[in-house]
Symmetry: D2
Subunit: 365 residues, 4 copies
């Protein structure tokens, strides 16, 4: 069992490595009858592309998605949607000095331990390019969610410890700076710091925040398939993510019950909460308020300065990782986090349609 599928009612299976023919995904379970075209998916992939700034990679990747199946006369048929993005500009020669060594912070060593050998070409299956399948599928999921009135907003909350401020929060800023930060001032500070990092041949990490509006109460399963547990798995499965928290998250660990509880009240005949320390999910089920979570992204491991490591033959060596790599990956991970959130949420909605006899009768007849 190789873990390349995610979801049950809305299931995605990704495939592809950096230097194979391409990467892609098969989406099974997308409801029939929704309009879908390459452009819907391409705009998500474009948010992922490196080369958007000098702060992310200079590798040129002309990733064009092609829909191979599952769409007829512009609408989803309900049958599997197969998407492919062919690989083009992946220069093999950049990676020759790492063929037989284990790069610190990368999965080279662990893949070897598991499989006996690995595809050394640029990280193989563990590379960032694997995220293309996730983002393509996320684009499809996001479109279905929009039809249901659900919207997701994702951005960098902090990079290199420099945080956005609530007072300066401006959604329109997100697309205006290379860091996807909704705060012009913070983005400028990050720009300065990033310039220094590039000089010092180092890298930085950050925190990505995701805000989901429009989810009605009742989505999620109690016990093991709690909606926040599934979001945690989905987001933690993205390479370089080392933490996940929802609502107040780790801050809740040092608060008091009287402060942390969200009290309920009536407003216009609807139940709402006065606060949202829970982050929109209670007992694993959505409560109707905004779902908000954060993920911690470690600094990208590939840095140009020298590092100590070992070779496949068991010798201590020093390596310098040449080639083109990102001094920070947070900006391009933003759309990946958003995609995983969309996929998880749609899966949660689709597998919960028959929770009560009334719902079943409503749809069965």
């Amino acid at each position: 069992m190789a873990g390349s599928s995610f979801g049950t009612a809305f299931r995605i299976t990704t495939w592809g490595e950096t230097h194979g023919a391409g990467v892609g995904v098969v989406i099974d379970g997308c409801p029939a009858g929704m309009e879908l075209c390459e452009e819907d998916i391409q705009k998500y992939l474009d948010r992922r592309k490196p080369g958007q700034s000098r702060y992310t990679t200079q590798r040129k990747e002309g990733d064009q998605v092609e829909i191979l199946s599952g769409v007829f006369e512009g609408k989803t048929t309900g049958t599997p949607i197969s998407l492919i993005v062919r690989n083009h500009d992946q220069r093999s020669r950049d990676y020759s000095n790492i063929q037989d060594v284990y790069r610190p912070g990368h999965a080279d060593y662990t893949y070897d331990a598991k499989y006996g050998f690995r595809d050394y070409r640029g990280g193989g299956r563990s590379s960032g390019r694997e995220t293309i399948g996730r983002v393509a599928a996320g684009a499809v999921a996001a479109k279905v969610l929009q039809e249901l009135g659900i919207h997701i907003l994702t951005y960098a909350k902090a990079i290199a410890g420099i945080e956005i401020s609530e007072d300066s929060f401006d959604e329109k800023e997100i697309g205006q700076n290379p860091f996807y930060m909704p705060d012009h001032g913070a983005a400028e500070k990050v720009r300065e710091y990033a310039d220094r990092m590039i000089k010092e041949m180092d890298s930085v990490g950050g925190v990505i925040e995701c805000v989901i509006e429009g989810v009605r109460p009742g989505i999620g399963d109690p016990v093991f398939d709690k909606l926040d547990a599934e979001l945690a798995k989905a987001v933690m499965s993205i390479g370089a993510v080392k933490g996940f928290e929802i609502g107040d998250g780790f801050r809740a660990a040092s608060s008091r019950g009287s402060e942390n509880n969200d009290e309920f009240m009536m407003q216009d005949g609807k139940v709402i909460k006065k606060t949202n320390h829970a982050g929109g999910i209670l007992g694993g089920i959505s409560d109707g308020s905004t779902i908000i979570f954060r993920s911690a992204v470690k600094p990208t491991p590939s840095i140009a300065r020298g590092q100590q490591t070992v070779s496949r033959d068991g010798e201590d060596v020093e390596i310098h990782i040449k080639g083109r790599h990102d001094p920070m990956i947070v900006p391009r991970a933003v759309v990946v986090v958003e995609s995983m959130a969309a996929i998880t949420l749609l899966n949660g909605i689709l597998k919960n349609l028959g929770a009560t006899m009334d719902q079943v009768k409503k749809l069965y007849r």
Copy 2:
């Protein structure tokens, strides 16, 4: 699909509510031929019991586990192991004033939204008693892991913001104080703070840390079933957990690549890492070093002081939650976190036995 199962190769299905006949779990996929008896499981359940101190609940719960199937002549048969713990001392009368209101911080409202009505008796399926099945299964999983040389240590790293200190770390202290803290000094500070909380009719949260030794490199799947992603889901599925991080976790978000990378070196012919910022998992696969993660536990929502909420009929009301409940749940959640870690890890090992042709041939013939 109601999400009451966890795992694939080692799968557990829990059942039971607070005031039904009992709670239990069915374990499918436990390898045959291991010695197992009620005592192996009981000692884990006893770590979960409330009434261990005045800081956890005074409810007396004589939880005795009974093995109903799956064991013959003292050994596992490979067939499903069904475990039951009968419910005894759950006084219905304690809950009458909450029958028609939504308690803040609890899943009452969300259950209602999902199912149309809920079992109001003490939280039904969302209550802490549901964890009995998890812990019973965790005991079985932990025993299999011990046979493979894997050991798990879990404790409270912080309560109410009071952290243990590395200098005073003492494993033997864990069983000596009611908080499962491996630091006598910190435990005393917590004791003082907890006494104050009880007076103020409030509650506190904390952080639970879990350390796993002995996992060989290569366990876990790349992409979606990464070992850390599955641990995240497993632990986040525990009620009251609002965050998960592995290795440096959220601290990695503000560190630099040169600081965060774990360099490799040879020692006695084996590959080891100089540091362990990664927390034992790289690219979703174990790297042979200690696996270490933390979970954030929110303050228990049931507090005696008045709270604003709404009734099922849509009226604003104030409630006081009477009855016996925990001023802190971190201590009793420790063994639940350990159980989920054991179950997840064993599931990861069992479903990865045939990753290479050599492994398959070794076992098939």
Copy 3:
């Protein structure tokens, strides 16, 4: 992975052996809000009980089901329903001479090969008692289906090669003879033959037919989860079943396209078929007509006459299987086939509720 679960949206997990404490099942995914009590389930179990005639076993089994969870104030809660039937009258002494030998036609040898040893007490997990969990769950599934207007009728179509005749078909006869045959004349012939078999210490097999009315068109998934493929797996998983066919089944193999195709026509504004060679399923999806399938049941392997076999130590031996066993199992398998059909069909309905955007919007809002 031990294969003790069936289904995804409506999932059942059975447990228990002949001589353990009991047998049972956990049902996950039953929609909330349906009335359910022990009697609903007991009446199904009673159809399964041996001792109903001299033609089925004289073992007395007082199987009383107990609902341990998942029902509150007489209605399903949507949380797992745990059912148990305690074991009583299973005399160990009947099986002592088979402890170390492999009974022909039974799973003794194959279990040993798989697990290294087996629970010899009356077949362990492979015994007929394992079907109790299936039937109990089937009773619950059947009740949900009835609420949706779906009804299942199951009976013995043939025993020992003696077939019922269409002209004499009488549904009321099913409960009037020990063979569950809807044909009085055929039942009498079977009675004579069965008497002879008992004298000759031999056993007979038969064919069970299952007729399902009221399934609307559109249930089932194309490709791998075709409704007939899932029914095949469900029914073939019953011990002693060696064949499955739907509609004309194997007769279709020697017919012509012009004979086998079911032509469509309009009737009262609805699409119906003139014939039903397909058996109600086309392309794996229900077509609105009666679903009809058959399963072949082999003769019960436990016979009193001497048989050649080998012992665990690798010696050729002759055995005589003493104790109480069925000269025919077809009659008691009838309700097991019906139960698996109900479970499969309900699972198919529940996991297909969101096949189109219209359905999803209808239920989501």
Copy 4:
């Protein structure tokens, strides 16, 4: 949930329709380290191609498989293997008169009922072309099985009621006639009959038999994932298959226990069976003897003669299905049955590697 995946440890996900860009499959869980190239797969696909004789379709389909991922330096990497076969010669104009009518015996009507509309171009997802993904994956599975010493032989046992005879059985004949029959005489009779069918614009069905040698005892799971139950589901999921039986199958239903039981005996220190009425599987687990099963294939529904049906607008109409279609599909279904058997068996082997503690310890360390 759309049912386009099969298997758990060895999982395949197929995609593609007749007139989309292509068809394909993603294989997840293939063990790493096995040699694999396009030719290994192409030779299986070539057995599927129509146009091999005047008795199967004259459509020219140049199906060339391309490996897009999962293979590096000629060996499987353990990561998903994505295979694609581009669609070429599918003339749209052949299908214009069936756009708005439901063809008898096809899934047009049931797809419409499920999805609200359908891709009318040549059957969409329900067409025979969907089997390309299955066969491609089957080729990979078969190669792994061969490495384990397991071999599968599949052929047409009967067509149009004309059966092969045991006395004339000749394996070499299978590749010598267009019907894949291992009996020259029977093949000639079928040829005559088929010529008549073509004149009469009709079609015929048949029975495919599959023989698997080399499976060691112990493969399969008791209860629900019995090896024969999974084979039944796998084979019944192939379009046009209406029945499945193993060993004596439906003949066992009219035999006696004394005739049907396979007695055990020792031979050269190994346990063997004197007969094989069981067909190689007991209690759902392989017993070490030959596994043999049969599937019933209905006559191909597309015939040129007129048929009564209805249009999407609810009118009774008569249709003549023009275009190029098979007068019999049994010959090209032979390799599809073999593929599903290989996939099922490999999945069964891979998910059962850790059935006992001894096996787990053997592989874990």
